[in-house]
């Protein structure tokens, strides 16, 4: 059983119709010297029962965050996923379709993508949204390239408060091109505005910043955009979509391109993938933005219908002149995000955002009174993440937290050399007061408190 449907008789009849006596004949265009003369060296095939048991045993080796408490964030978030989402995206009609090249047979996913684009615009306050990118990191990299291509400037400024994983990907993308990456110094206390001002120049194509930033802090978005624009550069913002339940939109702040990680919008953490990069921008970039986009049109009878449009930007038509090389994107995750935003709705998303806000503040307050623990940045507002200085090695603290079925925050030393004793905590709406209290009491114990 290899999911092959033909029987021996089928094969015999088909070979006969073709007029050959063996499959070997059909593959004869492959020179014999490169035909594989042995079976592939792979582990033996498993029947379905053994397969499920095998995968189950591998899964059991992992600490699963449904059964343990997770205070990690840093780009991937443990948010509530309403059960309707899986029930709907698992429907074969959605899951087992290809890219909607033939719109008449794909109105379902096309309409959903049109709704997705509308929702992303509503969330971000931007004019247009594409129908997904691979993830926030590659979305930002594409935005940077787009800014350079668009402006004939060649410097990409990225603030050090942008998620370091994103920064690394942007760096990789720029490496092979002629464009230059300018990273601001890794100083967590820096005055953002002053830093940008000191580095921005007439060759700066764009300034990339993050809201809330990697350390959880809410930036003064308006000010950053203003400084950026006054140097003639584009303002590119990475945003946390959940925070947009409360925070001022990039659109209101005149941001040019907005990118974000849509995993939070109803998708599983999945050890970091697949992810969903959302990408929205101002109307003026309509011919230059990357990725697929769906538009409404009409059929022969004048009925409303949907189709992929502005296709001449894309690789299959434009080839080396395309605005991006992206083809397969993250449609099913965009569908999940669409369902999520409909299920949460106007009041629900606001409520989720508020719960994150309240619980992270409760947690931060309670944790920071543990002797030896202090808050890294106390002067600025934060949304759902915050950094604490610990009196003990953060990785060691994490190892001990595992005994309490707690996966702790992110030790920051690997990302910010000055933060060897710091941990980035994330508290979302999935944590109850007693979960947080458990974290506090466990950490107290670990740190030798009462």
């Amino acid at each position: 059983m290899s999911y092959v449907s033909n029987t021996d008789t089928d094969r015999r009849e088909m070979l006969q119709a073709i007029g050959v006596d063996s499959i070997a004949k059909l593959i004869s265009p492959i020179p014999e010297s490169i035909q594989l003369q042995r079976p592939l060296n792979l582990p033996p095939r498993l029947d379905e029962m053994s397969l499920v048991r095998h995968l189950h045993s591998l899964a059991t080796l992992n600490t699963d965050l449904e059964a343990n408490l997770c205070f990690l964030g840093a780009g991937i978030y443990d948010h509530f996923r309403p059960s309707v989402i899986n029930a709907l995206i698992s429907r074969g009609e959605f899951a087992t379709a290809y890219t909607p090249y033939q719109p008449e047979l794909s109105q379902g996913i096309l309409q959903a993508m049109y709704e997705y684009q509308t929702l992303i615009c509503a969330l971000t306050g931007m004019d247009i949204s594409n129908s997904s990118m691979y993830d926030a990191a590659t979305g930002l990299a594409e935005a940077a390239l787009m800014a350079c291509d668009h402006s004939d400037r060649s410097e990409v400024m990225v603030l050090s408060s942008v998620n370091p994983h994103y920064r690394q990907v942007i760096a990789t993308y720029l490496q092979a091109t002629g464009y230059t990456l300018v990273e601001t110094p890794e100083d967590v206390d820096a005055d953002t505005a002053a830093t940008i001002k000191s580095l921005i120049n007439s060759n700066t194509a764009c300034v990339i910043f993050q809201q809330p930033n990697f350390l959880g802090t809410v930036e003064n978005m308006g000010e950053i955009v203003e400084i950026t624009h006054s140097a003639g550069a584009l303002a590119i913002s990475a945003v946390d979509p959940i925070s947009l339940g409360l925070l001022k939109t990039p659109g209101e702040c005149d941001v040019d391109i907005v990118v974000g990680e849509g995993q939070s919008l109803g998708n599983p953490m999945g050890f970091g993938g697949p992810l969903l990069g959302f990408f929205a921008c101002k109307k003026q970039f309509i011919r230059s933005f990357p990725g697929r986009i769906v538009g409404a049109t009409t059929d022969q009878q004048g009925r409303r219908g949907y189709t992929m449009t502005l296709r001449t930007r894309e690789q299959d038509i434009r080839r080396e002149k395309a605005t991006s090389n992206i083809c397969t994107n993250e449609a099913l995750l965009a569908l999940a995000a669409t369902i999520y935003l409909c299920e949460l709705g106007k009041t629900g998303l606001r409520k989720i955002a508020d719960l994150c806000l309240q619980k992270s503040h409760y947690a931060c307050n309670a944790l920071s009174v543990i002797p030896g623990v202090s808050v890294l940045i106390s002067s600025k507002p934060y949304f759902k993440e915050f950094v604490l200085r610990l009196p003990k090695d953060p990785s060691e603290v994490n190892r001990e937290l595992l005994n309490y079925h707690i996966v702790g925050g992110l030790p920051l030393g690997a990302y910010y050399p000055a933060c060897q004793d710091c941990m980035l905590f994330c508290v979302t709406e999935t944590k109850t007061k007693s979960d947080i209290d458990l974290l506090v009491s466990s950490l107290s114990l670990i740190l030798g408190g009462p």
Binding site: P44, L55, Y98, T99, G273, T309, E320, K433
Partner: protein
């Protein structure tokens, strides 16, 4: 569904609902709470949040209805060439949804993620064996992403050798659009070369094209006309001799499983589309995984982190390796589409060496059967004896004689319940109809499809207008794509009307 046909289609979710209606059942705040204004500052708060206000039942019905307006593999034969629309096993979904995989944070301590690292490591190892190369990475999120990664590695490879003048990537005119786009994205210049009269790379043309500026050749094998590049060894030799590298676009790997390996042909690097060859569902556009395999020469350039294994069997320990000085860096926020990797791993483990070869063989058999039975009715692109996993027909004759184009034939197929083949690709075949049946379809399914294709070929003659105005039995009739571009309507404007 059928039973709801007096209908104006499905409204947009924004056209439903009512102020104050809610779906999600959310908790009350159980910690002492302060106002958002106090915590965040009034200046940081947004204005209106124009999201839908619907019930959960509205949500369920709406997306159920939308699904019913979508064609899928689960629903029928989907011979979309180059896309390998094979059966997506349900057991893959079961394993990928195990909480021990789905509910994992990428930054959780590595000792709490040994099962996940095992899946990634073992899958990479199996992919490397399947294509006959040294190593693999699962970071690329799709085929095009894999191409881009490969070009970045090619770039780094030449730079490392001080060979920075190599700025040209040669690409046959039959290639998929992502190939030139990916090369260009890396700052390379693209040099197209025409295919020969057999639809393959012309050795002389290639020989003339390669030189000291050649960074790489990007080649799809089997190529996009469904033919195996029989001169592949010579092709690789020519490029290598000129100092370039050879990249294999592995979108068509399905044809070769267990039969032949790009690594053995001379390729230096290739991408897989796990969402084609290894049966992970494409989700109406994605997600995917464009795993990349490399020969030892390129291994140092693989993106970080890589995964390393020490020990064997139950004492095996897996870890991330980030200290790879020559690595091109990271190309994904984390480790790629892990849950897609779980599915592909499940798939390969259910097949083993034996099952993979069966796939390759039956994919080729099925395509050749369609080819043999349809060749009397449609022109076949290029005059090869056999095709590999797909057959490219041309409706050129129908176009010349009856004014019926490939697209018209495709639209008419919809009326009979089939998804059309790929149209107008590869670009070198006029009026292309690219048919890839895959191995999971049976002779019976193919026979019915073939009969309908024959019927349509006679309709093209007897009633061309029927085809030109097709489809007639779909939820919408032929859509006006020109109007879609001319009158851009990319979001539902009334939602934003209040705000302005």
């Amino acid at each position: 569904m059928d039973i709801n046909t007096i209908s104006d289609g499905e409204p947009l979710i924004f056209e439903m609902g009512r102020t104050g209606r809610t779906a999600a059942n959310l908790p009350e705040c159980d910690v002492p709470s302060q106002s958002a204004e106090d915590l965040l500052g009034k200046e940081n708060l947004r204005g209106s949040l124009p999201l839908p206000e619907v019930s959960e039942l509205d949500v369920v019905r709406h997306f159920t209805h939308l699904s019913q307006r979508n064609y899928s593999i689960d629903g029928g034969f989907y011979p979309l060439g180059s896309c390998t629309m094979k059966y997506n096993p349900k057991v893959n979904e079961k394993t990928a949804s195990m909480p021990g995989f789905a509910s994992m944070h990428p930054l959780q301590p590595v000792e709490t993620a040994q099962g996940a690292l095992a899946v990634l490591y073992e899958l990479q190892t199996m992919l490397a064996e399947i294509c006959g190369m040294a190593a693999a990475t699962l970071q690329p999120a799709a085929g095009a992403h894999g191409e881009l990664l490969a070009m970045m590695m090619v770039h780094a490879y030449h730079r490392e050798r001080g060979d920075e003048k190599r700025n040209i990537v040669i690409i046959p005119d039959s290639a998929h659009g992502t190939n030139p786009a990916s090369a260009a994205r890396c700052g390379f210049k693209v040099k197209g070369i025409p295919s020969n009269e057999r639809g393959c790379v012309d050795l002389k043309t290639l020989a003339a094209a390669v030189n000291e500026n050649t960074a790489a050749l990007m080649l799809t094998n089997p190529n996009t006309v469904g033919l195996f590049e029989s001169d592949i060894q010579e092709i690789c030799r020519l490029v290598h001799e000129a100092g370039g590298l050879v990249y294999c676009d592995g979108a068509n790997m399905n044809a070769m499983l267990g039969i032949t390996r790009p690594g053995d042909m001379g390729f230096d690097v290739m991408h897989f589309n796990l969402h084609k060859t290894f049966s992970t569902p494409h989700g109406g556009g994605g997600p995917g995984c464009g795993a990349v395999s490399v020969q030892p020469s390129l291994e140092p350039y693989l993106p970080t982190p890589t995964i390393i294994k020490t020990g064997e069997g139950i004492s095996a320990v897996y870890a991330f390796d980030t200290h790879r000085p020559k690595s091109i860096g990271k190309i994904h926020s984390f480790y790629g589409a892990f849950l897609i990797a779980v599915r592909a791993y499940t798939y390969i483990r259910s097949l083993g060496a034996e099952g993979l070869r069966e796939i390759g063989e039956n994919a080729v058999l099925n395509a050749n059967y369609i080819r043999a039975r349809l060749k009397g009715y449609f022109d076949i692109a290029y005059n090869a004896e056999f095709c590999m996993h797909e057959v490219v027909l041309s409706a050129n004759r129908q176009k010349q004689q009856y004014g019926v184009r490939a697209l018209d034939i495709s639209k008419r197929l919809m009326d009979y319940g089939y998804h059309p083949p790929t149209n107008y690709f590869p670009l070198i075949v006029p009026e292309a109809l690219m048919i890839e049946p895959t191995e999971t379809e049976s002779k019976q399914t193919l026979d019915k499809f073939i009969d309908i294709m024959i019927k349509i070929s006679s309709e093209a003659e007897s009633n061309p207008e029927l085809l030109r105005s097709a489809p007639h039995h779909t939820v919408v009739s032929r859509l006006d794509e020109t109007a879609a571009v001319k009158n851009l309507d990319l979001r539902w404007e009334p939602l934003f009307a209040f705000q302005k």
